[in-house]
Amino acid sequence: MDRETELCLVERLRDGDTAAFDAVYDELNARLFTFLLRLSRRRDVAEDLLEETWLRLVRHAARLRPDTRIAPWLFTVARHLYVSYVRSRVLEDSASAGLMTLWPFNISHSSPFEAAAASELERRIERALASMPASSREVLLLVAVGGLDQADAADVCGISLEALRQRLSRARALLARMLDEDVRSTTHVLGEVVP
C-alpha cells in the first residue's frame, strides 16, 4: 500500500467508510493475525486479540490523525493488547505444544521432496521461534512478518532505534543458534538409530 493510498484510506476511515475499512482489513489482517498467533502461540487467544485490535481501530477511527500510518498503529495496539493479556493471565512462556496447530498451511512447491524439505525447515523455525523469549520473538516478527521497517518496529515496542537494532541482532543470533542445536540434536538421534 503506497502512502497516498494509505492517507486516502485514513481520511475515509475517519468518515466511517466501511469500504475503506475492508481495504485495510484485507491488506493487513493476515499479517496482524500471524504476528499475534506466533506471539501468543494460541489460536483462540490470537483471534480474540485480533478482534479487539480491529475494534479499537474502528472505535478510534473518527479521532485518527490524518497522517496516521495504519500498519504501525495496528501493530502497536495488537502488541499492547498482547502485553495486557500476558500480564492478566501470567501466560507460561514455555508451552509450545499448541504451535503445531498452525499446520498445515497452503504452500505450493515444485516437488514433493522440496515441499518436505521446506516444510521441515519451516517447522524448525517455528519451533525455534516458539521457544525464544517473547521480547526477541516480537522484534523478529514485527520486522520479518509484520513488514515494518526498523524505525516503526522501535516505535511499536516503545524503544529507541538503537535498542531495537541490538535486540534484533540478538534475536537473529539466538534463532541461528537454536536452529543449529536443533540440527545437531536430530543428527545425534539419527546416529543412535542408524548404525
Binding site: 476511515l13 466511517g16 499479517r31 478482534e51 519451516e122 517455528e126 537473529r172 541461528a176
Partner: protein
C-alpha cells in the same frame, strides 16, 4: 546467515483466522463504523445551529466585559 534467517522467518506462511471468526470481526467493525457514521450525520444539524449560538453568546459576554471595564475606568 542471520540475514538469511530473517528472510526465512519473513517467508514463513501467513496464518488466517477461522473464516467464521474473520467474518464476525468484519461485520462487528462495520456495525461500529455505520453507527458512528449515523450518529455523526444526526448531530451535524444540531451542531450547525448551536455552534454559532454559543460563539455569539461568548462574543456578547466579552463585549459586555469590555464595556464594563471601560465604564469602571471612566472612559465611557
Amino acid at each position: 546467515m542471520t540475514d538469511r534467517l530473517s528472510q526465512l522467518v519473513g517467508h514463513l506462511p501467513h496464518a488466517e483466522p477461522r473464516r467464521a471468526r474473520a467474518d464476525r470481526i468484519r461485520s462487528r467493525c462495520h456495525e461500529v463504523l455505520e453507527r458512528r457514521h449515523r450518529q455523526a450525520a444526526a448531530s451535524r444539524p444540531v451542531r450547525r445551529i448551536w455552534e454559532p449560538v454559543v460563539a455569539g453568546l461568548g462574543g456578547l459576554y466579552l463585549l459586555a466585559a469590555i464595556v464594563l471595564a471601560l465604564e469602571m475606568y471612566g472612559v465611557l
